[in-house]
Subunit: 333 residues, 2 copies
């Protein structure tokens, strides 16, 4: 489907589900971005879920988002159970505004929902010459080291930096070996998942996507990934005042209430300490990219391949699997 | 050796090497702490190296450390090539002071050296009811994903949080599968290292500690660990204005100049956004610790086992390998 046409279709669906035009377009842009960077697991395949949550009154399509300025460089946002894209859009705009003014920004967001890809927001800050972090929690997917029940989300950590080129440095990683979204898409399309990334509910390795969803995803780097996921659970759950330690609701199958996800954005001017950041980041990237390579390999910085993928995909139509196309048609009818 | 006696011995040696009494005691406390938490790789085994660097004038024993207050919540410290312990001690004290006053603190430190264990500093902030991050760079040890030459340091990330108990949550991980310090100790004691953690200089797996030191350490979680190490290189190198992209000098065998290591400390009050942090962090830890466990396993939060180890070790003498005891005697003679 043509990109513009798909964007309009998504907006139209969300407006039908009571979002205002501006918010619907914010969501459409974020979902299209996920498709273009090659993360369809975070793209239109999720639209049906968002609409179901609105219908069942666990996403608020007309939120009254409150921004409380805690101090010069700190804001706290109550997203009023808005769709996550709108909460995060509000959050990153506030973060950028504060950081541009005071040099640093520290913004917590509670009562939010799944906001898609962290890198999408961090890229907006990087384009304003800021370095930035995004943390967010997510529904249970990972067991702590030593445990056999999921309690932490995939809890991504994202960091971005200007590079003095048009291709930003965007490092965005979940704490699970593969994204839960990828397992969801595999389950939907009846495909299998790689070995060694998940256990079934009995604690046995599985390549069956559906069994993995009801089991446990394995964290990156064993106890270290487990520790990083716990850190994000504290930062975006306990510290920001949202759900934590296993209480974030799964958006796909738990409609008993809002997800109550929390986010934390931190941003800072690249010239906070030094005047030559732009020159030195270029030196840094050139030096790293030019070291001897393993045969057949190239060295990319985080975000670089995604940038090229998006550039390429932006010239083409977006492929929508027929099962998801059917979902979209149903949502509009 | 008795703990107090060892502490006095270290101080005495460093005073002989021209540190003032206060700074010598700061170093002695940090080195003893490393021994007590079970990280002898960061303990007295390094004293000889520090003294050699002072002797060769690449560590400044009488630094004029300058603290520049950039804004209410931001300070920038020029450590004047002091020994890393003193730079980091100055840095964490400034971080705590600012965060207690304004709610958040953001402190960059340049012209520093190896400061030992990040967790030692973060623990000091956590004891003041702050959540805190520490980032630091380090001499080349890891190759970027796709490369076969070391350029990033082990570049640890450390995060701490109050727990409403006397045992702080301290997550402290380097981006290499094992600490470079452990490989150094193994090389010194002619012991082998585990399989799968390092390559020799020809790119082949090795369990020989000396070959690993001249080769490449493998990052945790492949390209993700490599990306995290690059992130820390940008934050503490490019952003803070210290050496980066392979230019941090190895403290053990590069005496051509100071290391020029950079650190970044970020800290924030636990009640910045919510009033019930202390109650909710207890709920969080209890819930996670009480999930079903893999047979024979317990669930510890990061820092918990280290705390117990330190408590136990504080009642005993510290074992010093004879080769290191000989070093200490030589330093004093």
């Amino acid at each position: 489907m043509q990109i513009q046409k798909l964007k309009q279709l998504i907006s139209k669906i969300l407006i039908k589900y009571n979002l205002n035009k501006k918010d619907a377009e914010i969501c459409a842009k974020a979902l299209i971005n996920a498709e273009l960077v090659g993360a369809p697991s975070h793209g239109v395949s999720r639209l049906k879920m968002y609409c179901e949550r609105i219908k069942k009154k666990v996403i608020n399509p007309k939120p009254k988002i409150k921004i409380k300025r805690v101090s010069n460089s700190v804001s706290f946002i109550d997203a009023d159970n808005s769709i996550g894209f709108v909460a995060a859009d509000t959050g990153i705009k506030e973060t950028i505004k504060i950081a541009k003014k005071t040099g640093i920004a520290f913004v917590g967001i509670k009562n939010s929902g799944h906001y898609g890809l962290s890198g999408y927001y961090i890229e907006q800050a990087v384009k304003k010459n800021l370095l930035a972090f995004a943390f967010t929690n997510a529904p249970p997917a990972i067991a702590p080291h030593g445990g056999k029940k999921t309690i932490f989300g995939t809890n991504p950590i994202c960091f971005g930096s200007p590079t003095n080129s048009k291709i930003p440095f965007i490092f965005d990683t979940s704490m699970s070996i593969i994204n839960r979204g990828k397992i969801r898409v595999a389950a939907k399309l009846n495909k299998s998942i790689p070995k060694g990334v998940a256990l079934d509910k009995f604690g046995k390795q599985t390549t069956n996507a559906k069994k993995a969803l009801s089991g446990v995803q394995l964290p990156i780097a064993g106890f270290r990934g487990s520790g990083l996921a716990w850190m994000v659970d504290i930062l975006t759950g306990v510290f920001v005042g949202s759900a934590h330690s296993g209480k974030v609701k799964d958006p796909f199958d738990d409609f008993r209430g809002p997800q109550n996800i929390g986010h934390l954005f931190i941003a800072f001017k690249n010239n906070l300490f030094v005047k030559n950041f732009k020159q030195q980041i270029k030196v840094n990237i050139n030096r790293v990219k030019n070291i001897p390579k393993i045969k057949g390999e190239k060295i990319y910085y985080p975000g670089e391949r995604k940038f090229f993928r998006k550039k390429l995909n932006s010239k083409k139509n977006i492929k929508i699997p027929s099962s998801i196309k059917k979902d979209l048609d149903n949502l509009l009818s």
